[in-house]
């Protein structure tokens, strides 16, 4: 699947059976919902350090994440689908991040961007103030390596998240299935 991701972006889920004068699509409602959701992910405007600069670059004309359906960055968690943790999370920020995550409507997804958000990164040792990985605070779906990661890496992560949503493998979806 991974090798297909850049060539075969968003195949409509289901099979087409041609009939006279048109055709019938046979699909699953879940697949269509996931397909729709994966192509309209609204990120939350959230950045705590230099990774946010790369995130802004990814949003801007050169990399243009709106090609993949991410253009509607929201400044309120209530309208956002995905939170990209772009930067260091310190102990004082952790409760704020948790509250933002809690305020987001289901289904919601989390990307940990860069070394700080993944593990504390350069601040892992001898620091009194840094959370050693955002996943100590909220669950993460996709991790990106890098310090900071290049815009291509963030795009790759966003596309990976789309694939994860389409295959029903995000934490939210698994939680829902288990009921």
């Amino acid at each position: 699947m991974a090798s297909q991701q850049h060539t075969d972006q968003t195949p409509f889920p289901g099979q087409v059976h041609p009939t006279a004068g048109g055709g019938i699509v046979i699909s699953k409602l879940d697949d269509i919902i996931n397909w729709a959701r994966s192509n309209s992910l609204w990120p939350l405007v959230f950045g705590t350090s230099c990774c946010a600069i790369e995130m802004m670059s990814t949003a801007s004309a050169k990399y243009d994440w709106s090609r993949f359906g991410f253009e509607v960055a929201r400044a309120t968690p209530r309208q956002a689908d995905v939170i990209i943790i772009a930067g260091t999370i310190v102990n004082k920020m952790a409760p704020v991040l948790k509250r933002l995550y809690d305020q987001m409507a289901d289904p919601k997804y989390v990307i940990a961007m860069g070394a700080c958000a993944t593990s504390g990164g350069p601040f892992f040792y001898n620091t009194y103030s840094v959370v050693k990985g955002a996943d100590h605070v909220i669950p993460v779906d996709v991790y990106i390596a890098g310090c900071p990661p290049r815009p291509e890496a963030l795009l790759h992560a966003l596309i990976s998240l789309q694939e994860k949503i389409r295959s029903g493998a995000t934490r939210e979806q698994i939680k829902e299935e288990k009921g």
């Binding site: 004082k92 040792y125 009194y128 840094v130």
Partner: protein
């Protein structure tokens, strides 16, 4: 004024001043006790007029704490650095926030992270750390077994 001219004029104000060699900016070691009067002189003496405190910080040298003040004059364009040694167990120095307003927050930060007490500061409280936080995080001997992973 260049560094030599500054040195000449400063020696008139503070004869006890010691100068560091080999620095880009003129660096003065001043006694903590006389710092307030010296600061006032730096700010208001015609010809000096250091009206901009662009950096105020503290350094933990393990044997003592060192306050560092970077001053520049927007009138004359010259810059000096004033350093002052403080006792590590009783770090006390006079505030300069009535001379340079910006010092109010910078001194709060130095208090928050190094535990330096600034006499006559209007609002010496924790700035970044919570009120309950024990100790001074930027001191070299600071221990925090809950948050810190030692290397």
């Amino acid at each position: 004024m260049n560094n030599d001219e500054l040195k000449l004029q400063l020696s008139a104000i503070l004869p006890s001043a010691v100068y560091e060699e080999g620095t880009e900016w003129l660096t003065v070691q001043a006694d903590a006790a006389g710092w307030k009067d010296f600061a006032r002189a730096l700010r208001y003496t015609p010809g000096l007029e250091f009206d901009f405190l662009f950096c105020l910080t503290c350094v933990d040298w393990k044997t003592h704490l060192g306050m560092v003040y970077h001053l520049t004059s927007t009138v004359h364009g010259h810059t000096i650095v004033v350093k002052s040694k403080l006792d590590r167990d009783q770090p006390v120095i006079e505030t300069v926030c009535d001379i340079w307003r910006t010092a109010e927050f910078h001194e709060r930060e130095a208090f928050d992270l190094f535990g330096v007490r600034f006499n006559n500061h209007p609002d010496l409280r924790r700035l970044f750390m919570t009120d309950e936080c024990p100790g001074w995080p930027l001191r070299k001997d600071y221990e925090d077994p809950v948050n810190m992973i030692k290397l």
